[in-house]
Amino acid sequence: MYWSINLVILVFVIVCALAAIYVKDLLATAVLFGAYSFMMCLLWAIMGAVDVAFTEASVGAGVSTVFFVAAVFRTSRRTKD
């Protein structure tokens, strides 16, 4: 029943991951990484892991991204790859 959403989101997750890695700006990486976390959260919600989804929502969306932005803020946005 849920496999269709699951598959779609999984593909989405992989696209997000690739994008986060190949984008040539660290802030963009941080932002895309946030999107990746959203997708992961959804994926886990679909798979019935509510607690994990909750954690991922709070961590990935709330804290990780902010940390990333903070770190980029204190370092640089430049990246060669």
Binding site: F12, V31, A57, V72
Partner: protein, 101 residues
Amino acid sequence: MNTFFLCISLGLCFLMFVSFYRCLMGPTILDRLIGVNAIGSKTVVLLLLIGFLYERVDMFVDIALAYGFLNFVAVIAASRYFHKRKGLYEGSFKGETKEVS
């Protein structure tokens, strides 16, 4: 009804894909940020829909709520970056600076 919810969910997934195009291609980071923000608001709904699919929406509401808050935090943080970094001297020192040694 569940089938309907499923269809709506898949539709939202599709919309997320489309929004993600902006994330992927956005010429500036702020465009990406818009994309992420759009994805975020769809995700909130999607979480609720999944809750209905599982017939346990009371459990999923919490996640959606947290999501709403925290997406906001992330976006604010990312945009604050530009407030500080690019406009370093535009808005920060209003008026003249006096040197006192």
